[in-house]
Each structure stands twice: as C-alpha cells, then as structure tokens.
Symmetry: C2
Subunit: 270 residues, 2 copies
C-alpha cells in the first residue's frame, strides 16, 4: 500500500494570493468558500466603460446590497488595492458571461473575451460577515448543513441608476433572538460587506411569500423560536444586470469569488 499524496485540491489556500494562483492555474474551478480563511472575498461585475458610471451610481445608491470594495481603471485587469498581482481575467475559479441579459457561458478564464474598455467592480460578500458571526459563536445553519444560503427577491425596490434597477435580493439566516441581536451588533461593524440586517421576522413584510422556496440557493429550515434574519445580498447587482439586458457583462459564477489580500478584520468600522 502506498500513501496517496495530498492533492492540491484537498489543501485550502492559506493566502489570497495562493487562492488566486490556484484559480489561475485551473486547480481551483469551483467555490472559494473555505479558501484563505480570514481574507476578504468579493462579488465581481465586469462591464464596458460606457455603462460603468451608471453601474457605479447604482452601487452608490444601494450601498447595503452593493457595497463597493474596488473599481478598476478601464481596460486594466489589476486591482492593486485588493491584492498584489491580481489579474481579474484569470483569478476567479469560474465566470459567468451574460449577453443581452441571458447567461451565455461559464468559462474558467476570460482572457479571450477581455475588452480594452472593461471596468471591474468588486462588491463585498457575506462570507466576511459570516466569518465574523461564527467567530463570536453564532451557528449558521446553512454552513452546518453544507448548503448554500437561502436567497429571495423582495418587494423592496433598489434605487435605479440608468438601466440598472430591480428588486433587492436578500439572504436569510435563522437565529434565536439573542443571536439575532448579537448579529445586528457584529454586522453593523461591517458596512462594506452588507452591514446590519435589512429585516427581521415576518417575511411577508418584504414580499417573501414562502421561506421554503428561495429564489436562489437552498431552502434552510427556520425552527420554532427562531427569527428569520435577512441581509441585503450581493446577488442584487447580478439581478440588476440581467434586468438591464446589457449587451455584455461578466460576473463570478455563484460562490466562485475573488479572494483578496485584505483581512476581514480590517473591514470593521469600529
């Protein structure tokens, strides 16, 4: 019997640079959850410069679902404020290419699609605040049960900017009341990764008819004595892109985020 060597896939990256290198080399082509623990991960939206101002205003007007961590120079695939040597064309495990609001392909590299006028937006992601919640002893059921978080389109409209508009999308985590109060405190410190919840309690009040039927992700049980706690979600800008039917847009594939060199700890506002 020989010992099986540990494959690179079995060893999560320790640093943001390691995770990006794994994605760049094709060793990491799926979720980034669990990679480079402690490091900020981001939602990615890439758009032609002609739409960039409208999209940036959309983010500025909707800071809870779309907290901007960085915006690139047009045509420049680097993001120096988020990490050394980032090449956004290769450093995500997987991309989604959207044409006229329809999902076109899911490549692992977008060098062939890159345009000189592309602007990259990196938007804060709930992985950061989930790590902060877990670090303070709050159990997150979807993680415990190895599911995706449950996400819902609400009847809360985003503030429109140019062609970008649509409903706010929220993620939901069930908690007892004491954890919900603590979660408000913890996530209030993290405005750049969605901040405090946008709703607690009755789902119908924000236009969610049935918690067992999420619009994205997996259903997660809310047990007796628990409150559903809702946060603004980074899927909101993707929904706005689709709604706007822009000729071309590229995003990360679900869960396949940009892993940065920033530490989650550095995001705390106080």
């Amino acid at each position: 019997m020989t010992e099986s060597p540990s494959t690179p896939e079995c060893t999560p990256a320790r640093t943001g640079a390691d995770a990006r290198l794994a994605a760049r080399s094709g060793r990491l082509d799926r979720h980034t959850s669990g990679q480079a623990m402690g490091h900020v991960q981001g939602n990615v939206v890439i758009l032609p410069a002609a739409l960039a101002t409208d999209f940036m205003r959309f983010c500025q007007r909707n800071p809870k679902p779309c907290p901007l961590l960085a915006v690139s120079e047009p045509g420049d695939p680097s993001l120096p404020t988020l990490g050394k040597g980032i090449d956004i064309r290769t450093d995500l495990p997987r991309y989604r290419v959207w044409r006229d609001g329809e999902l076109s392909t899911e490549p692992t590299d977008i060098r062939a699609l890159w345009q000189d006028d592309f602007v990259t937006f990196v938007i804060g992601c709930s992985f950061s605040f989930e790590e902060a919640l877990m670090a303070e002893g709050i159990t997150l059921r979807h993680i415990e049960q190895q599911r995706n978080v449950a996400m819902y389109r609400t009847n809360v409209a985003t503030e429109a900017a140019g062609p970008f508009s649509g409903p706010m999308v929220v993620s939901m985590r069930p908690m007892n009341a004491a954890d919900a109060i603590r979660a408000v405190q913890i996530t209030s410190r993290l405005p750049s990764v969605h901040g405090a919840p946008v709703h607690i309690g009755e789902p119908a009040q924000i236009g969610i008819a049935d918690l067992s039927k999420p619009d994205y992700g997996d259903a997660v049980e809310v047990r007796p004595g628990e409150l559903p706690v809702f946060w603004a979600c980074g899927v909101t800008p993707q929904a706005a892109l689709v709604h706007a039917r822009v000729p071309i847009a590229i995003t990360h594939a679900p869960g396949a985020m940009l892993v940065t060199d920033l530490l989650n700890r550095q995001l705390a506002a106080f």
Copy 2:
C-alpha cells in the same frame, strides 16, 4: 382679565442642578420625565453598608438590568461624579421606603431616615436610550400615548449575589423591523443605560404569557407587522430588594429619578 403667571411646575428644568433644586424645594414631587432634557437620569437604591457589597456584586453580575453609574461613600449623601452639590436625601422628587420587603412610605425627603452607614447606588435608566432613539426618528408608542412603558417579569433569572436574586424585569417597546434593527445599533452604544435589547419577538420565549398584562407600567399595543422589543429594566434591582426582604432600603418612586449633570451624549461607547 389678568394673565396667569407661569408657575415653576409648568417650566421644565433646563439643567440637572435646576431639576434637583426643584425637587429639593418641593416644587417637583412627581415624574422627572421631560426634565433637563439631554441629561442622564438614574434609578436610585440606598442600602445599609452591610448589604452594599452583596448588592454591588449583584449589579456587577447583572450589568444589563443594573448598569451602575455611581456608588457613594458610606454615609455620604453626595455623588460628586454625577453632579455638583447633589444631596441624595432631598434631591429626588419622591422616595419609596421599603421595610422587610414591604413598601412602607413614599416621602419627598429622607433626611429624617438617613443613616451613617447608608450607601447610594445610581443605576442607568431607559430615559437616556429613549432620548437617543427619538433623536434618530424612532417613535415610541408609550411616549406618544403618554403612558408608562410596559414592564414584565421574565423567566430569565438574574445571577444571584448574597440575598439578592429574582427574575429579570424587562421593558417592551413595539417597533417595525427596520426600527428594531436601528434600535439595536443605537442602544448598543449605550451599555451604561441597559444597552442592546435582551429579546426581540416571541414573548413566551422569555416567560411572558400575555403582553396585554404588564407586571408594571401600562399596556401598550403591538400592531400587526411590529415586533415587541425587550430591554433589561431598572426595576429588576427593586424586585431583587423586595425579594431579599432587607430590613430597610430606600429607592426612588417610579419615574421620580435622580437628574444628573451628565449628558446622555457622554454615555455613548462609540
């Protein structure tokens, strides 16, 4: 027709010192609500020194219902850290004298009862956080309806110390979810006046059978779409005193607080 002169009672005191002088002179003998707006008011407990250590440990172990703002020297009726020239024997509008756990009298002056071994405890009061909530645009129904806040004994036990124990008492304020989230943020900054809520939502989870039947104060309606939000309450130490059947204790009468020279603004932790 002659103009009726404005009586001193009609003009709320502007400063803590003015409010205390009004109480001392007998012009103010009821509630201090609305007096010296912006100034910290406090719950008062006066006990013989032999019980002071146990009571102080009780407060230390139960900081949410019993946040200590000041403790006097034995026998000294002044509280220099809370205000210039305070004489705790005369500066409350009205007192309650408790003997063996029973309410004995409600005098407006306790000079005749003062003992050389009396220690005064001043405990933060919800007036401070209510002012902070209202300043941020949150409507408080009991204030709007000019009622006392609704208070309930819970099934949450305080941490005992010596003879002091008993249930935590909470106050309840109904709010929509957005205001409840904001209220957690605002009151988290104010740990010395009860801090963040201790519960949101289902009253039965903390042993409250019927919101329409408060144990203290007035019932306040919770409307559809609202969450009952519960804060630890300064009545908790009074309940513990009664429970302990101490030979003698003196407290403020309900709503007749010590008005200090401190500003509510100064209490904010961040």
